[in-house]
Assembly symmetry: C2
C-alpha cells in the first residue's frame, strides 16, 4: 500500500513499520478521499523524539533573529499557497472556502506566525529580570526538548499542529516541534508541513526543528507527552483524549497544556431582554451556528431569569434555530458526538425545544438544537448538564431569580469564556454585582454584551481558563507573547561571567528596545 510520507529528522520518509493506516472522508459528500496515511509505530515516534531532542540542543545556539526569519518565511509560503491550502482544507473539513478559510482563517494564521516572529525578535516576552546589586539575572528560555503539538479538528490552519498558535508560540520561544496532525485533515497538515520544512531549510534551522506524523496508537500518543526527552506538549481537542494525555504527562513530570472543553455560559439579565431581546437572540444564534457550532468558545449554555420576556426570547431563539439549515459537520463523529451529548443532557432532565436529530443528507449534519431546563434541576445535576455538545446545540437554563442565577454560576466548571448581557442604562447593575463574583473566577475571559466566538489575537487575550477547560488557569493558548510562556523554563544566572550570559541578560540591551525589569523598573536601557 502507498502511504503518505512522514517528516522525521529532516527528511520525508516512508513510515517504518507503521502500526496501521487510515484515510479521510469529505464530510460534505460522505466520500472517501484517495490518500492513505500511516499510523506511526514505535520506531518513527522514537526517531522523531530523538531528532527533536538534538534539534533542541542545537537551537539553543541559534540567534533569535533566525526564528523570526523562519516564521516569516513560512507565513509567506502559506500565503503563496493559499489556493492549494484552501482547496484541500475545504475538501477535508467541509469548512467553506469563503468567507471562512480563505479570507478568515488563513490570514489569521499567517498573522499569528508574523506576530510570533515579532515577539521572538523583540524578546520582551522572556521577562529578563536583572538585580545589579547581587548580579543575579534570569529569563524565560527554551525547554530541554521538543514540544509535541496535537491540533484539533475544527481549525485546519489557525490551530494546526504545524502552523497554528501552539506551533508558532513553541517555535518563537525557541523550541523544535513534533506535530501530530489531526486525523481529520492530514492532507492539509501535509501541505503545511511541506511549506514549514522548506522554510526550515531556507533559513538554516536544524532540520528536525519541524517534524510531523499523522497519527499514533494511544500508547505512543502518551509517549509523545511523557518521554524523558520531551520538553512539553500542547493539546487541543476532546476532554476524554486530553485527560489521558494529561495523566501520562503528569506522571512523568512533563508540562502539558490542554484546551479541552467549554460550554461558555451566557447570562442574559432581565434588563437586557427588555431593551434588545431580538438583537441578542440574533447575535447568539449567529455565534452558536458559526462553524456549524464547532468552536471551542461556542455558547452552549444560556442562563435567563424566568418571566414573559424570557419565554418570548426562548421562542424567538427556538424559531431561529429551527429556521436555519444546519451547517456541515467536520466528520461522521460530529453527529454521533452531539447525539451522545444530548442523551446525557436529556437523561438529566433537559427538554429539547428545537432540533434534536441527525439530518439525513449527503453531508454530515445535525439539526440546530436548543434545550431547556430549570435552574433548580441544573444546580442539582450540574456535571451532566454541562456536557458539551460540539455543534449548534445549546441548553437554556431558566432560573427563578438572580440568586438562583448566582447559584448556577457557582456550580459551573471551569470555562474558556463567560458572558453577561445587561441593560445599557444600568438597570441590571445590582444583578451584575451579585453574579459577577461567582462567574469571574470560573472563566478565562469575561465578556459584556458580546458573543464569545471570535478570539482576537492580541496580547491581552486569554484563551484559557480553569480546569477542565484547560489544565492550568495561569496560561493562554492565544495571545502573543503570553502564549509563549507555556513553552519556556525559568533560567537564572547567578554570578555568571558577562561573556557567558545570553545576550538578553548582558549589560547592553540586545535590541535597544527590549523591555527588561532591571532593579525593579521596566526599562529599555542598557546597564
Amino acid at each position: 500500500m502507498h502511504y503518505q510520507q512522514v517528516l522525521i529528522a529532516g527528511e520525508w520518509r516512508d513510515p517504518h513499520h507503521p502500526a496501521g493506516h487510515f484515510d479521510t472522508v469529505n464530510p460534505a459528500r460522505k466520500q472517501k478521499l484517495p490518500e492513505v496515511y500511516p499510523v506511526s509505530g514505535e520506531h518513527d515516534v522514537n526517531a522523531a523524539i530523538a531528532a527533536g531532542k538534538e534539534a533542541a540542543v542545537e537551537l539553543r545556539r541559534v540567534p533569535r533573529e533566525r526564528f523570526a526569519q523562519f516564521l516569516e518565511a513560512f507565513a509567506d509560503k502559506i500565503k503563496a499557497h493559499t489556493d492549494e491550502l484552501v482547496t484541500i482544507a475545504s475538501l477535508e473539513t467541509a469548512l467553506p472556502k469563503e468567507p471562512r478559510l480563505k479570507t478568515g482563517e488563513l490570514p489569521r494564521t499567517t498573522n499569528q506566525l508574523r506576530t510570533a516572529a515579532q515577539a521572538a525578535r523583540e524578546r520582551s516576552w522572556c521577562h529578563a529580570t536583572i538585580e545589579t546589586s547581587v548580579n543575579i539575572r534570569s529569563m524565560m528560555g527554551p525547554l530541554d526538548g521538543p514540544v509535541s503539538v496535537f491540533g484539533p479538528n475544527n481549525f485546519p490552519f489557525a490551530f494546526n499542529s504545524v502552523a497554528g498558535g501552539d506551533f508558532a508560540a513553541a517555535i518563537a520561544a525557541g523550541n523544535p516541534v513534533i506535530a501530530k496532525a489531526n486525523t481529520g485533515h492530514p492532507g492539509t497538515t501535509l501541505v503545511l508541513a511541506r511549506l514549514a520544512f522548506e522554510a526550515v531549510t531556507e533559513t538554516g534551522l536544524p532540520p528536525a526543528t519541524v517534524q510531523m506524523i499523522y497519527r499514533t496508537p494511544p500508547e505512543l500518543g502518551r509517549t509523545l507527552v511523557s518521554h524523558e526527552h520531551i520538553g512539553a506538549s500542547a493539546f487541543t481537542g476532546s476532554k476524554s483524549a486530553g485527560l489521558k494525555l494529561k495523566a501520562a504527562a503528569d506522571k512523568a513530570g512533563k508540562p502539558i497544556y490542554l484546551e479541552m472543553s467549554s460550554v461558555n455560559p451566557v447570562f442574559v439579565l432581565p434588563g437586557a431582554l427588555e431593551e434588545r431581546s431580538d438583537e441578542i437572540a440574533a447575535e447568539l444564534f449567529g455565534s452558536c451556528a458559526l462553524g456549524a457550532g464547532q468552536f471551542c468558545t461556542n455558547p452552549g449554555l444560556m442562563i435567563l431569569q424566568k418571566g414573559d420576556l424570557t419565554e418570548r426570547f426562548i421562542a424567538t431563539l427556538a424559531q431561529t434555530f429551527a429556521g436555519h439549515e444546519p451547517g456541515v459537520l467536520l466528520s461522521a463523529q460530529g453527529p454521533d458526538g452531539i447525539l451522545n451529548a444530548l442523551e446525557v443532557l436529556k437523561a438529566a432532565g433537559a427538554e429539547v425545544i428545537a432540533g434534536g436529530d441527525q439530518v439525513e443528507d449527503d453531508a454530515y449534519r445535525f439539526a440546530n438544537t436548543l434545550l431547556r431546563i430549570d435552574g433548580r434541576t441544573f444546580i442539582k445535576r450540574p456535571h451532566e448538564l454541562q456536557t458539551e455538545a460540539f455543534g449548534t446545540a445549546s441548553l437554556i437554563v431558566v432560573a427563578d431569580d438572580i440568586q438562583q442565577m448566582k447559584e448556577v454560576a457557582s456550580v459551573l466548571e471551569g470555562n474558556l469564556t463567560g458572558c453577561i448581557y445587561s441593560n445599557t442604562q444600568g438597570q441590571d447593575d445590582r444583578r451584575y454585582e451579585i453574579l459577577e463574583p461567582e462567574l469571574r473566577p470560573r472563566v478565562g475571559r469575561l465578556l459584556n454584551d458580546k458573543v464569545p466566538t471570535g478570539v482576537a489575537v492580541v496580547a491581552s487575550m486569554n484563551h484559557g481558563g480553569p480546569y477542565p477547560a484547560t489544565g492550568h488557569p495561569g496560561f493562554t493558548a492565544v495571545g502573543l507573547p503570553a502564549s509563549m510562556l507555556r513553552f519556556a523554563a525559568l533560567y537564572c544566572y547567578d554570578n555568571v561571567r558577562p561573556h557567558r550570559l545570553p545576550v538578553e541578560l548582558q549589560d547592553k540591551n540586545p535590541t535597544g528596545s527590549m523591555w527588561r525589569l532591571i532593579d525593579g523598573q521596566w526599562t529599555q536601557r542598557d546597564i
Copy 2:
C-alpha cells in the same frame, strides 16, 4: 488528653474528632517536648476548606492595600516576638539561635513579608495587559479557593507554612492560606499562626484568611491539594511525599507547586583547581555543612576531571569533612534518611572516603560523609547515584575528561542549581562551552565560581528547576514578585464596562506607578 489548638474558620479550636496525636523531640537532646498536637480529622480539614473558600470569595472585594497592611503588621509582630520564636524554633529544630535563627532566618522572613507587601501594593506583578484598539484587558488575579501550604522541616521561619515564602506569595496574590505545619516544629508554627491571626484581625481581613492545622492522615493531605474548593497548593519537602500529593492534585486538575529534591551538581574544571584548589575545597565544605547539610541547595554532587590535582583536592576535602564535628540534624529521621541514601549510593558503586556512619551522641548527628565514583559508572547508573542524602554528604564523580563531564551533565535529573568553577584567566573557557549547554537546561539557577547555598531573595532569583526538583520548570518559589504567579489565574475582560473593571485595568493607573503593558509598551501612564 490536652491537645494544642488548631486555627480554623477564624477561631482557635480544640480539634474535632482528631485522627490521632503526636509530639515532638528536641533533636539536640533527644528529649520529648511536653506539648501534644492533634492529627486533624476529616471534620476539621473540611471545615478549613469550606471557610477558606468563603474567605477567597470575600477577599476578591478587599483592596490590595489591606493585604499589604496585613503582611507588614505580621512582620512587625514577628520582629516583636523574636526571642519567643527563636527560643522555640531552636528547641524544636536544634538550629542555632545565633548566627542562624535570630540574625539570619528571622530577618529574612520578615523581609520576605515586607517585600510581598510592597509587591501587593505596587501591583506590577499582575502583568496588566491592555489592548485599547479592541478593549480587551487582562491580568493575573487570585485563585478560586484557598492555597494549601505544606512547609518543610529545615526552615522553621523562612519557609514556614504560615510565615514563609509560599505563604507570603499566596497572600500577596490575594488568596487565603490553609497552612499545614511541618510536624518537626509545630510549636514554632503555632506561635507564628497566633501572630498572623492577630494581624488578620487587626487589619480587618476575613477571619479565615489564615488557617492552620498541624498534621493530617495521608488521605486528608491529598484532600488538601485536590478538593474542588482548593485553589492551588505548595509543598516543600521530600520527593516521596511530594509525588503523592502531586498525583492527587494532578488528577483533580489543581495546580500544585513542589520543591522536592536536588543534588545541586558542582563542576570544578581543571583550571580552577590549578588556580585555587584549597579555597574551593573550603568554600564547598562550608556550603555542604551549612545547616548540617539540610539545605535544598546543598551541594550533593561534585564532578571533577581525573588527575593529580583532583586527587589532592579530594584528599583535602575528605580531610576537611572528617576533621569537622557534624552538625545536629533536625530529627531522628535525619540519620536514618542519610543512612538509607548512602545504602543506595554504595549499592550503585560509590565508595565512602570520609564518614559514612551515625554518630553516637546525645543529639541526632551523622558523620560528615564524602563518597566517590568514576564517571563511567555514574553514567551507567545515574538515577541511583543521584539519590539525595539530606545532610552533609556529597558524592564526588571523577570523570575521564571534559567529554565525560558533559555526559555526566547529560544524565542529570532536574536540579534547583548547578555550579561551574573555572579558571579566572579563561583557561577553562572551551571546557565551559562544552559543558554549559548540557547543564543549563537541567538546573534552575546556574552559578559561576560560587556555592549554591544562600538563596538571595531578589526579583531575579529562581528557586525552582525542572522535574523532579520541582513540578514545573517555569515557576520559582523564591523571588518576589515572580513567586506570586504560582498562586494566580489569568483573567481577561473583553468589552467589560469601565466601572466593572478591576482598578488595575481601568484607564487610570491605580497607583500612578504600576507598570502595565498597554498596546505593546510597558508604561506607568494612564490611558
